[in-house]
């Protein structure tokens, strides 16, 4: 049987982590680090926040492989599009 009260506590804990990561990302932004370092950190933090929401609030950690496929294929297509266009757009100005 699912412990709903436990789920609620877990949701609040995840929210705490999300807010903590948000503050951490903004704090790093105010430090005026080198651009590459800054981008690496803030997008790393964003990725962790997105994973926390998707796994816990959208319950993807308990989903069937079909749902992973439906959600994963467009993400792979977007990454593929980005990588395929980089040589033309970024290096051929």
């Amino acid at each position: 049987m699912i412990n709903m009260a436990g789920d609620d506590h877990s949701y609040v804990a995840i929210w705490g982590w999300l807010l903590g990561l948000l503050i951490a990302g903004v704090f790093v932004f105010t430090l005026h680090l080198a651009t590459v370092t800054l981008l690496f950190i803030i997008f790393g933090v964003a990725a962790i926040k997105a994973i926390l929401v998707v796994r816990n609030y959208m319950h993807l950690k308990a989903e069937h492989v079909l749902i992973y496929a439906i959600a994963g294929i467009p993400i792979l297509l977007v990454i593929g599009m980005l990588l395929a266009l980089i040589p033309d757009i970024v290096f051929h100005r």
Binding site: I42, F43, Y57, I67, I70, A71, P74, I75, V78, I89
Partner: protein
């Protein structure tokens, strides 16, 4: 046993697993997949053009990251209230479900209010969608996202009214899960738009 029968028998548990997924859940994930392509295409275009053209950082410096941070906190909190509403509905706690749904709606409205305040300030300073490539993307991506937030508010408000009137129960709670999936997706999109537009 024929080879066809053998294959069917071997695949039976897997097929049953797929059949156990509600068709509504497959439908909402299919919608979200198409949304990933929409926002993914926009974000990819933004990243590629920003890398290949200079001068974006100067334009991006005019957005107010403090308001963006506040809006991110508002949307993250609305995801929490949405998750708590779904949890309450599964426990058949009707008043609690309605309360958290209303909180989610109000937080969504607060997000749009802060965004409107932001737009007003930027437009007054002369930054319109025609002011440059950054501003075209800024208004385009945040505007499209705001439309999605609006749609989510309408859906959540509908479920709130259903919960208050007692129409959300008797096996209809699954629909709330689909609304929640959409709402959390809108949150995830903003999680990436925030650093893209405000912090980089």
């Amino acid at each position: 046993m024929s080879s066809t029968a053998t294959v069917l028998t071997r695949n039976a548990p897997h097929s049953e697993g797929i059949r156990s997924i509600p068709i509504g859940k497959i439908g909402i994930w299919w919608l979200l997949a198409s949304e990933i392509m929409v926002f993914g295409g926009l974000i990819t275009s933004y990243v590629l053009l920003r890398i290949s053209h200079g001068g974006w950082a100067e334009q991006a410096a005019h957005v107010r990251w403090q308001l963006g941070t506040l809006n991110t906190a508002v949307l993250l909190t609305s995801s929490l209230t949405m998750a708590l509403a779904l949890s309450a509905s599964r426990q058949d706690r009707r008043r609690r479900t309605a309360t958290f749904l209303l909180l989610t709606v109000l937080l969504g409205v607060a997000f749009l209010g802060i965004k409107a305040f932001e737009y007003t300030g930027e437009l007054r300073e002369g930054f319109t969608p025609a002011s440059g490539l950054f501003w075209s993307f800024y208004y385009g991506m945040t505007g499209l996202h705001a439309l999605h937030v609006t749609a989510g508010i309408v859906v959540n408000l509908t479920f709130f009214v259903m919960a208050v009137r007692g129409d959300l129960w008797d096996g209809k709670q699954a629909r709330l899960e689909y609304a929640g999936l959409y709402w959390h997706f809108v949150d995830v999109v903003w999680i990436f738009l925030f650093p893209l537009l405000y912090l980089s």
